[in-house]
């Protein structure tokens, strides 16, 4: 099946992106730490022909520092990479993109964890890299003082983290395993490579302990609102999430075309080579049969707990969301990552009503072909190994 012109992606985050979502009917807030809750969501996304799901993460129990001391917020996080490993074997088609916090993790471990996810899913692994400047998260590790580090330095470290992961994925050439009984050799060690990465935050020798994963290079994604983040995405990622008509820490992020232009400018600035970034816009949705009901629903939710969002919020109908996404496609975006405000009610609307509508408009797929890799779904080629024939 050919690659559709536009990708529907779904951002999974517990009971939903609205802080009041856990109190909504059908939210299953007490089930969030069990596997069924996540398997159900991933399968629903696959049934709605989403190209991929992302899974949010954070190291501290408290989602927002301002929630410290409260008891009325849904708190706690399972490790997103492990949610991904749990849903991987029971899905068949979609890409699975857990969040990875680069600031406090070992690039070697993350590289093998994501490679393992790629092996488990026959090539459907991705990751969303996330920088942590939160002092509360740093205190959980007790090894660095984020206040003493510049934002640029944290982002540079993340670029290094991804560079090490990528080097390790390539550190085994695809045909390194030879099983040559005559010479007793399982491996051709000429096809294993030290990466000998030395950066300002860490040095990693390699090779990996894990053979090159099925995709060669599992998909790397990043969320960007500001120039530093756009540059990081341009250096390190395959897919960038932007927030058309949303707002970052430095103010409004501009419309879809503006975020696309910012992406291309960052690519030029860092001298990106190879495929351009796929630009996927984020949108937080509250869906209902008519726009007034959707707005009323959002108001009810906000009265319980106010929603603050970097992505634009659309409280409306499936048709309105489809119109917005169609305009993004026309502006040159490659897809949309929808953040359901209330998973219990918005996810079924996305998968059962919006997905067919997008397919009807010729934007997205309406059937799965033979299972392939996540890169296949995105129309990205399988990269050659950087060390092959070196």
């Amino acid at each position: 099946m050919s690659t559709p012109p536009f990708h529907l992606a779904i951002a999974l985050d517990g009971t939903g992106w609205h802080p009041a979502s856990w109190r909504e009917p059908g939210a299953r807030p007490g089930d969030q730490f069990g596997p069924e809750f996540w398997v159900d969501q991933a399968r629903a996304a696959e049934a709605g022909f989403a190209s991929f799901v992302t899974i949010e993460d954070g190291f501290t129990a408290v989602r927002k520092p301002s929630d410290e001391g409260r008891t009325d917020r849904s708190e706690g996080h399972l490790d997103a990479t492990l949610i991904a490993q749990r849903v991987g074997p029971v899905t068949e088609h979609l890409g699975i993109v857990p969040t990875v916090i680069t600031t406090h993790t070992e690039p070697f471990h993350v590289s093998t964890q994501i490679a393992t996810l790629d092996w488990v899913t026959s090539g459907r692994a991705g990751q969303r890299i996330k920088v942590s400047a939160d002092p509360a998260e740093a205190a959980l590790f007790g090894r660095r003082d984020p206040k003493a580090e510049t934002r640029e330095s944290l982002f540079d470290e993340t670029a290094d983290h991804v560079e090490v992961q990528r080097g390790l994925w390539d550190s085994w050439e695809d045909d390194a395993e030879i099983r040559d009984v005559a010479t007793g050799r399982f491996i051709d060690r000429e096809k294993l490579h030290y990466i000998d990465f030395v950066g300002s935050h860490f040095a990693v020798r390699g090779p990996s302990i894990t053979p090159r994963p099925p995709q060669g290079q599992p998909v790397v994604t990043a969320l960007a609102h500001v120039d530093t983040a756009y540059r990081l995405a341009a250096r390190a990622a395959d897919v960038v999430f932007t927030t058309p008509d949303g707002a970052g820490r430095d103010g409004p992020t501009g419309d879809a075309a503006t975020t696309l232009a910012a992406t291309r400018a960052a690519e030029a600035e860092v001298g990106r080579t190879g495929d351009p970034l796929l630009v996927v816009g984020d949108l937080l949705v509250v869906l209902d049969d008519d726009a007034a009901s959707a707005r009323a629903h959002l108001s009810r939710l906000d009265a319980v707990a106010p929603l603050r969002s970097d992505a634009a919020i659309l409280a409306g109908t499936v048709g309105q969301v489809a119109d917005t996404l169609e305009s993004w496609a026309a502006a040159g975006l490659s897809g949309a990552r929808l953040r359901p405000a209330v998973t219990a009610s918005d996810l079924p609307r996305i998968t059962r009503e919006l997905a067919p509508e997008l397919a009807r408009r010729g934007l997205t797929r309406s059937a799965w072909g033979e299972p392939g890799t996540f890169r296949d779904l995105l129309g990205l080629p399988r990269p050659a190994d950087r060390y092959a024939h070196a």
Binding site: W22, G76, I83, T121
Partner: protein, 461 residues
Amino acid sequence: MSDKPRKQIHLAAHFPGVNNTTVWGDPASGSHIEFSSFRHFAQTAERAKFDFLFLAEGLRLREQGGKIYDLDVMGRPDNVSILMAMAAVTERIGLAGTVNSTFNEPLDVARKLASLDHLSHGRAAWNVVTSWDEFTGENFRRGGYLPKDKRYLRAQEMLSTAQTLWDSWDSDGIVADAASGEFLRRPDEGAFDVHSDQFDISGRFPLPRSPQGRPVIIQAGDSEEGREFAAASADAIFTRHAEFSAGQEFYADVKARLAQFGRRHEDLKILPAATFVLGDTEEEAAENARQVQYQQVGPQTAIAFAEQVWNRDLSDVDPDGPVPSFDPKTEDDVDSGGHISKGRASVRMYRDPVATANEWRELGAAEGLSLREVVIRKNGRHTFVGTPQRVADTIDRFVQEDASDGFVLVPHITPGGLDVFADQVVPLLQEKGSFRTEYSGTTLRDHLGLAPLRSDALAQS
């Protein structure tokens, strides 16, 4: 036997590792990395009602003579990751993996293992190990930073800190009552504060108390420190003592240590590592075992093993000739980092290489054995060789007569090597009434017969 109830055998299935026990050249040998192999292995072990799966860990590819060691199976997944994926294709079997305490931080390890426990409904286990060389450190942020005398301290503090994190939520810390709006029992669920030699951390642990309270804790180690550590903190201990009388001694020694820590005899399970080769007759089994040994120790592997003792290049030695007459090089020992073999814990067995070389020469001369045959004799022994009935009888005797509580079985073929044991030996153990025919509980603690952990309510009262 008297009226004394039969001890129940505990069995673990070790996914074949990256060493010469694993035969990769056999036509039956499949992939070591494709998920289908892990699924097959896990489902066989669960069909046979094993207590748990186990995966060892190595965070750097081994080297010998300055080159990557190429004679063994290599390439493995991340442990907790692959255990999580195996949880998706099984329902009851426990999921145990080694996770290094040197090149991980407590928050990350505790979070991953608690996630595994939550997402498997209480089947997680952690084999706590310390790293033993700087060689591995070259792959990590810290490098080879940990002095030798801090290794056990770090492991102990890692474990006790992880325990603090796992205990940081009330058992009923999540209320999640939509009507009242109360999600957390207390506003500080997960709060912790640890200031020790190795760690200086505080904050809010992100996961509620997991189904087992914490993962099952395993300690591998035969040393004095390892035994003491296990007696104090572990639920199971892995050992190399798989011979009957040595096993009984080890068993008695370790169980006797429990009382001083306020623990009961049954609170720590003793599980030696074991291999097996079966046959329809004793003769056939012995012949099968001999063939497997020759597969496991090919000519190149025999030389490589000798190099680990002699600590020098022996590539021009004939493996089918006699044991070398010259002595091993002794100036660069394992701890100095100058040894020919890197990333291989087993070379520490050769504490006195000259004595080992003498032993090998004496054995070769006495029985007219070649170097390869000597290596097979010294390193290639299989724990259980015989008919299924003989092997079942032996395993049962070990357990009933307190030489072990069961075994960690490692087949030599991936992924199908466990099938024959599941099909032919397990039913005989079940007939004896020594091994479960169905899982009676849902968690790994249930399978191991470990008492449930005290709840917070009890802890606070």
